[in-house]
Symmetry: C2
């Protein structure tokens, strides 16, 4: 790894002159420039961005902290983030917290040490600790997908309450009256908001009975919650899964119980799978514009870095989209 000094020596000039050539700043005679460029080429010299960053206090690096990149929803967000960031010359460090608050603060600590210019955060907990930490250290950030109750910060998310509302209204329109929601972890705002949308829809329809289950945003969680929901008499006629993984788990439980979808039970879910993953789309879902969420969050963050905006925290709420498919149908005969 050669340094700017090596190049200078080889070209018979000072380091400063090399720096000027690299950055196209100041005046340089054509002849020296060529000599320098040749020396650079010969040595395969690459400027050390670390030293640069140390001076400029800018690393041109962002961080994306999410719960699990393996979840297609987050994968797509990640792609939006990276596309937008790289277009503007930023790199992206990614971190998986697995919904662990401790892992999250661990990661944030490292990221701050590494002087990332900004952080895109899908918070594991709805406590303001992480956000406070970043704020205190003066690291700009944007909260993605989830809310942090009680604090006002830049946020990009979907109106999940409304999405849940749409989904439940769809079921109500089909004639369902006993609808169970298989929600996520109670502490995660997106899970809570989905429950609230569910409640709102039921309330408006004058339905008092509700069946709310909490569990992990996982296949296993969905399986367990579905089992619980099925054990109730009278059994619900429709299941609302708070995300795709939960839906899969629920479908497995239904299959095991010998129940057909949608004949014996309707199933609807939050989050769609990318069309490239599915052979024959089956689930009725509310989809979120994940890619766009990633892009917008990154743009907002980059704006902040550039000092744009009036400093007022901005909350960008993107719309969800109801996609009716074959997993939802009118309820059949009322079960005992």
């Amino acid at each position: 790894m050669s340094t700017i000094g090596d190049v200078a020596k080889r070209a018979g000039v000072s380091a400063m002159t090399v720096s000027r050539v690299i950055n196209n700043s100041g005046y340089i005679s054509q002849e020296t420039r060529e000599r320098v460029e040749q020396a650079i080429a010969e040595l395969g010299y690459v400027p050390n961005a670390l030293a640069r960053s140390l001076r400029f206090k800018q690393t041109k690096t962002l961080a994306l902290v999410l719960t699990d990149i393996t979840n297609p929803f987050f994968t797509t967000i990640a792609r939006g983030v990276e596309d937008t960031a790289s277009e503007q010359g930023f790199s992206v460090i990614f971190c998986n917290t697995d919904e662990s608050k401790d892992d999250e603060s661990e990661y944030l600590n490292v990221l701050v040490q590494k002087q990332v210019d900004g952080v895109l955060l899908v918070p594991a907990a709805s406590s303001p600790a992480s956000v406070a930490f970043l704020h205190e250290r003066g690291v700009p950030f944007v909260v993605l997908d989830r809310r942090i109750p009680g604090v006002s910060v830049d946020t990009v998310r979907c109106d999940t309450d409304q999405g849940a509302y749409q989904l439940v209204c769809h079921l109500l329109d089909l004639g369902h009256r006993r609808i169970a929601i298989l929600s996520g972890p109670a502490a995660v705002t997106t899970a809570a908001d989905r429950v609230s949308g569910y409640r709102r829809a039921l309330a408006e329809a004058g339905i008092r009975e509700e069946a709310v289950y909490y569990g992990g945003f996982t296949v296993e969680g969905g399986y367990q919650m579905a089992r619980q929901a099925l054990a109730v008499t009278p059994r619900p006629t429709a299941l609302f899964a708070a995300n795709n993984f939960i839906a899969i788990g629920a479908l497995r439980a239904l299959h095991e119980a010998g129940l057909r979808v949608p004949e014996d039970m309707s199933v609807v879910a939050f989050d769609d799978l990318p069309p490239a993953f599915v052979i024959a789309p089956f689930l009725t879902v509310v989809g979120q514009p994940a890619y766009d969420m990633g892009c917008q969050a990154t743009l907002l963050l980059l704006d902040r870095l550039a000092g744009k905006g009036d400093g007022e925290p901005q909350e960008i709420i993107l719309p969800t989209e109801l996609i009716v498919r074959r997993s939802s149908a009118p309820p059949c005969d009322p079960t005992p």
Copy 2:
């Protein structure tokens, strides 16, 4: 952002002493240590890893350069990489090249400037340019998933040739004789290797006719290749898709043509989807241990960074697994 100097001033000691406290190096009196720790807490001081890296020539950062994180196969690899890296205190920068050679070298250039300690590379092209670039700059790297013909470098990949062979043998065992392969870009080694496994299986079965199509590793590519394959008379009785996206595209084309799977046409594919994504697994596939590939590649890279190993390039080849499901069956009546 306070510096080590600020802490020193506040604690009434020198910067060096603070440094010793932070790093637990050398001897420090209990009393000074406490004073320093308090000052650190009061200021919310976080050491600047940039300055540290500049001295130590170690950034504790790796890079993962792949074609598209959105592809579940690569997403899973990415998760394996990040898990392994973070366990050892390394961060991971990720980059999507979309199979573009130019984007790839652009990224690599930035990564070298940022002084990443090592690179995990899924090369977009099979030319040795990228690998040579890294080698010249002294940046350790491991090639993932694909080969680069003619050069001997650390590599972690699957035996795709063998996987393809298994898949085609499975079709042959079912009685198929006219099998078309919908491969990926001819320049990508995994695509080429799948074709070679296909050819080997056919040759061993004494079958002369082959039908090889090249296209993108995408749904669109699969769709187009399937259309071409279906236009031939006599039509093949089985389709071998070189990855999951191609399989989806092919299935769409078959659906459009009114052909049922597996009754009218068997379909098999490379790469399985994570079980959490699929309701009822349908495709017969050869799966690759993507997560493990990510882990092993990262471990190998970290070993290299630690100076372990005898310096001989190592090639780790993981086994694939044939999973027979419902998309493959004996051929029906020979079509005109």
